[in-house]
């Protein structure tokens, strides 16, 4: 494998660009070009990384990572438990697609800001690049503390982006966004620390250390380092940070305001990437590290997700502001992501990760288009604009295209992921492919209505904006920034790559799914192991096989209120390992059971 620290270069490039922009005193045009240049250079570095990644995808099996880098950051020896805080990067099949999505959208968002940002260019582009670096850091991090640092740091640039270049209520929006998110993540912080402290009980390479390394934190559960109660509380602590970020119903109240007030590029990045940090966190931390709690709280998460899907869709339906409508549609779509995750089936998990990417692409593009309309008419109210298809045919094409992608038209990206998520949710309760997940048909049916509602509100929006009699605000379109009535060549080149990506993921998602599956299967295995452990716990401390059988027998006999057959079947289903034991049970023991 390449010895170049590709990921470090990837993270450093935008940060370097940000420092250069902040420190120099160029004219706006140069700054714009430089910022775009730096983001494209980052993309180029990422393409190199991708090339290496594609060569070695075989190594991804069983939770492997590629392009890993590891350096010591803070360490102190000489004590019983040394301190090892690391700078550890790596990519796997979960982070790679999300990272590529980020890498595609951020340069486009920067490019889209060329006309819409009219003041304080230097700070704007420096902050955009800083945000870019922090987002990449979250996806690359293989150390919980580094993950948290980047996760938190994304707040600062966006806070300024909303607060300085946002709409009329920008200050309220920025404060609400920042404080809401920070309040949640402070509890997550306490959880991170508790995990680090717990991780110092894990023996790794013959030694113990106080560390936040994901690999070691993942061992915690296998070694029984976290009791069920601890897992429950930690899950709640991480939930506080992640659920607000996602945002899961009922913690979504900051989102519409932040989206509406943010500048276009800010909305794009917020919807496409920052919301995904929450779902990514659930997948990266909550599920694999606290599998017991994830199963126990799975139904709660499922209910919140379904309520989010339906509520978000209904709320989107009644909006008159296009941007607010798209914002509420995000609440609805992110519900699907979580549903797919907590159904604990491979189909659902794959669909969920794919959904994150697809939602980023189509919603990001929708925000871009809304921004382009806004730049021309300075309004987003559906009452004031209408019939734009005649005035702006190219825009109309893209708007219809991304609407179709968003509502899941077969052949476009949204369909694949929605389908997988719903399949996963439907079969969640079934046991023929391993263990039963916590969700089931009862969750899938209301969620499916979300798709129907999605089609309704999106098409309703398209009809009002694009078709019918032409309706323009009195002043006509604003041509001040070199804009034409229909989309300019620059704007077309911004939307076209996203559209191509949508088609690609809709027609041939296999390569991406092939990356994901080997990385997702360890997550799933951990959850499945929880059921195994139920059985192991029943036989804990018993050495010989005979003793194990009788221990099982005792356990079963203890629950005399339920029929024995039922219990044996239950165990057999839950854990494949338990099944043969039940079958090979000695006759006398079976007698004892009766």
């Amino acid at each position: 494998m390449s010895s170049m620290p590709l990921l470090s270069i990837l993270l450093a490039t935008p940060v370097f660009g940000a420092i250069v922009i902040f420190a120099t005193n160029w004219d706006p045009a140069t700054i714009r070009r430089f910022a775009l240049g730096m983001s494209v250079v980052t993309l180029a570095v990422a393409v190199c990384a991708l090339a290496v990644f594609m060569q070695h995808t075989g190594d991804l099996s069983s939770g492997g990572q590629l392009l890993t880098e590891s350096h010591s950051w803070v360490s102190s020896d000489g004590a019983a438990i040394p301190l090892r805080l690391g700078y550890k990067l790596g990519l796997d099949g979960i982070s790679m697609p999300l990272m590529l999505m980020t890498l595609l959208l951020t340069p486009l968002a920067i490019w889209a800001s060329f006309t819409s940002i009219q003041s304080r260019h230097r700070e704007y582009y420096a902050l955009m690049l800083l945000l870019f670096g922090a987002m990449l850091g979250v996806f690359c991090a293989r150390d919980l503390l580094l993950f948290y640092v980047c996760f938190e740091f994304t707040l600062i640039p966006l806070y300024f982006l909303i607060g300085i270049w946002g709409g009329s209520e920008r200050q309220k929006a920025a404060n609400m966004f920042f404080l809401y998110t920070l309040a949640g993540s402070m509890l997550t912080f306490a959880g991170v620390l508790y995990l680090g402290w717990k991780a110092s009980s894990v023996v790794h390479d013959g030694a113990r250390a106080f560390t936040f390394d994901f690999d070691i934190i993942y061992m915690l559960h296998a070694q029984g380092g976290l009791s069920a109660t601890e897992q429950w509380w930690l899950f709640v602590a991480f939930f506080a940070g992640f659920a607000i970020k996602v945002p899961l119903f009922p913690f979504h109240t900051w989102l519409p305001l932040a989206h509406v007030e943010a500048p276009t590029a800010g909305s794009v990045i917020l919807a496409a990437v920052l919301l995904k940090l929450g779902t990514y966190g659930f997948l990266r931390v909550s599920m694999p590290v606290f599998p017991n709690a994830a199963i126990e709280l799975g139904p709660v998460m499922g209910v919140l997700a379904v309520v989010g899907v339906v509520y978000g869709a209904l709320a989107a339906w009644v909006q008159t502001d296009v941007k607010r409508l798209v914002a509420y549609s995000s609440v609805s779509h992110l519900g699907f992501c979580l549903l797919g995750m907590f159904c604990m089936k491979m189909a659902g998990l794959t669909g969920s990760v794919l959904y994150m990417v697809n939602h980023g692409l189509s919603t990001g593009a929708l925000f871009l288009i809304v921004g382009m309309i806004y730049e021309r008419y300075h309004t987003r109210e559906m009452d004031q604009i209408g019939g734009l298809a005649r005035k702006m045919p190219i825009m109309a094409f893209f708007l219809v295209f991304f609407t179709m992608s968003s509502i899941g038209l077969p052949g476009l990206n949204g369909f694949v992921s929605e389908f997988l998520v719903l399949i996963g949710t439907f079969i969640s309760g079934r046991t023929d492919s391993g263990m039963a997940g916590p969700l089931g048909v009862g969750y899938a049916i209301p969620a499916a209505t979300g798709i129907l509602l999605g089609a309704i509100y999106m098409l309703y929006m398209v009809r009002r904006v694009l078709f019918g009699p032409v309706k323009e605000p009195g002043h006509g379109y604003d041509s001040s920034g070199g804009l034409t009535q229909d989309l300019t060549r620059r704007e077309v080149s911004i939307l076209a790559p996203i559209a191509l990506a949508c088609i690609f993921l809709g027609v041939y998602p296999k390569p991406v799914i092939d990356w994901m599956e080997p990385s997702l299967s360890p997550v799933l295995e951990r959850v499945a192991n929880v059921h195994m452990e139920d059985w192991h716990r029943a036989t804990a401390g018993v050495e010989s096989d005979d003793a194990a059988y009788s221990a099982l027998a005792v356990t079963l006999a203890d629950s005399a209120d339920r029929s024995t057959l039922d219990i044996v079947r239950r165990d057999g289903e839950a854990a494949p390992l338990a099944a043969p034991i039940a079958i090979h049970m000695k006759p006398d023991d079976s007698e004892a059971l009766r």
Partner: protein, 546 residues
């Protein structure tokens, strides 16, 4: 050179410097010689400390019974003098021409007091050192501004300080009553005789922990001295003065007030707790500190939240920070993993106070750098949120420095403040392993701390928002003082380096924290030896030490 002179070389150097600087003030010329010499003496004291630390090689030295140095002393001296240099540089423009000598001399004396707090091995000397910290600050507040509010601040600070000092001293007298000696720790070379203890620590070690911790004299003494020391820390219940005093003083002096007395108070509390070998788990002292810490954080942050004057806001934020620091002291050194600040509350506290010193000072220095027309013809430092409005457009670097320091106070990643909070919270969580009985209350304390950090963010953000969002107002100018600019830049850089490259500071804070844990064990060794009650343990400890 006699041993005692050698031991106190940095302090002696500084005292000589302080007196010398006082004489420089006699010159009628308006010059910055006082500043230069103060900085040189502080740097000299740092160098002497460095040499002493190398020579001591991590050992602890008792010169006479009442003086004691070790890694902790060196750490405190280094941090104190380094911050001292920044304070002196930043104060270059503060005093009137005819008061320059006195002003810088008093600053130096205050820092001597701080380092003596760490050296004192005697309750009386400890008290004197604490007063040496505070008495110059009473005067400095009054000298720093011509404003009537500065006089009011000095008066308030003085009267409340005198009250708190009396409280501390009263508490010390109870501890003396319990132990029959003023010495805190003894070298243990003199054989122990029944009934006459060489030090309080020896007295404590000679008895059963439970009995000692329920000795009414000791508990009353502890509670009273903690109450008095709360004034130094600006902790609840003696936090009322903070806003008025901090607002009244000139900004660089306010920055100093936020650090020097706080550090001194924390070290004094550290001394008290190591007397009882940090065995506070089953006594009312635990709950005393718990309540003070929780109340300090919460009240400090709530009051700061209501402020629109940045100086008052930062004043209450410094109250809140005392709460975080006390939290770390409550966690104590931790039995199992003293080697890392993540598990060792004392090391976490020592690390955080160093970073806190820089970021707190930095924030006040930015305020001082932005000038606005004062009540008379002179200008004064920016105070209100409006004064900072739009500063980022005109002064991007100063605003960046302010943002860095404020984010540090908020405990945000990419600043040392984040690591500091990380260490404090995690040491408290780790302490649950040592204090089984208090598991829930410690976790509750961390959650209170986390919520407070979030509340804190709300008002810190107002400062940044004002700086970056609002339209510039015309009135604000900037200071031309070079010293201030250098000090400000150093503070901001330290805050960032505290995150990016904290290795050295962590290593030294860990070593320093070990001292506070180790020397009670020496005591146990010697007393145990004379009683020969725990021979095996004493051998172990002796081997572990040297």
């Amino acid at each position: 050179m006699s041993a005692i002179v050698e031991l106190l070389l940095p302090e002696i150097l500084l005292c000589v410097g302080a007196i010398g600087v006082l004489f420089l003030g006699l010159s009628k010329e308006f010059s910055s010689r006082a500043v230069v010499w103060s900085v040189l003496f502080l740097a000299g004291a740092m160098f002497a400390t460095y040499k002493l630390a190398i020579a001591a090689n991590g050992d602890e030295v008792f010169a006479v019974a009442s003086l004691h140095t070790g890694p902790l002393t060196h750490y405190v001296r280094m941090i104190a003098f380094a911050i001292g240099i920044l304070v002196v540089l930043a104060c270059k423009h503060v005093p009137e021409a005819e008061e320059r000598g006195e002003f810088f001399s008093l600053i130096l004396f205050s820092f001597v007091g701080l380092s003596l707090t760490a050296i004192a091995n005697d309750l009386v000397l400890l008290f004197l050192a604490l007063e040496l910290v505070s008495v110059p600050t009473y005067i400095l507040i009054g000298l720093s501004r011509r404003d009537i509010r500065a006089q009011e601040a000095a008066g308030k600070y003085f009267f409340l300080g005198a009250f708190a000092a009396a409280l501390t001293l009263y508490g010390f007298s109870f501890i003396y009553g319990a132990a029959g000696t003023m010495t805190i720790f003894s070298a243990g070379t003199v054989p122990f005789q029944q009934g006459a203890y060489h030090s309080i620590a020896e007295w404590f070690a000679a008895g059963n922990v439970y009995d000692r911790m329920h000795d009414p004299l000791l508990i009353v003494g502890f509670m009273l001295s903690l109450g008095g020391l709360a004034f130094k820390l600006a902790a609840v219940p003696l936090h009322y003065y903070v806003a008025d005093v901090y607002q009244g003083a000139a900004s660089p002096i306010t920055g100093m007030l936020g650090f020097v007395p706080k550090f001194a108070g924390l070290i004094a509390i550290m001394h008290l707790l190591s007397i009882v070998q940090w065995q506070i788990a089953d006594s009312s002292v635990y709950w005393g500190i718990w309540i003070i810490a929780a109340a300090t954080m919460t009240i400090g942050n709530s009051l700061a939240f209501m402020q629109y004057n940045v100086k008052r806001m930062l004043a209450y934020s410094s109250v809140a920070h005392s709460g975080y620091l006390l939290m770390a002291l409550l966690a104590g050194p931790g039995a199992s993993g003293a080697g890392s600040p993540l598990r060792n509350g004392v090391a976490a506290m020592l690390f955080y106070i160093a970073i806190y010193g820089a970021m707190n000072l930095g924030a006040f220095l930015v305020l001082s750098w932005f000038r606005k027309p004062g009540t008379d013809d002179s200008d004064e430092s920016a105070e209100m949120l409006e004064d900072l409005a739009g500063a980022a457009r005109r002064h991007p670097w100063a605003s960046l420095a302010l943002a860095v320091c404020i984010l540090g106070l908020m405990g945000f990643p990419l600043t040392g403040g984040f690591l500091g909070k990380l260490y404090i919270f995690s040491s408290v969580l780790s302490a649950t392993a040592d204090m089984q009985a208090h598991q829930t209350s410690l976790i509750v304390l961390v959650v209170i701390g986390a919520i407070n950090a979030a509340v804190g963010a709300a008002y810190y953000l107002r400062i940044i928002a004002s700086c970056y969002w609002r339209e510039p107002s015309g009135k604000v100018t900037t200071s031309t003082c070079m010293g201030l600019r250098v000090a400000l830049a150093v503070c901001a850089i330290v805050v960032v380096l505290g995150f990016a490259w904290p290795g050295q500071l962590i290593r030294h804070s860990v070593t320093a924290a070990k001292e506070g844990i180790d020397y009670p064990r020496v005591m146990r060794f010697h007393t145990a030896d004379s009683h020969s009650s725990h021979p095996a343990e004493s051998v172990d400890l002796a081997r572990g030490r040297r």
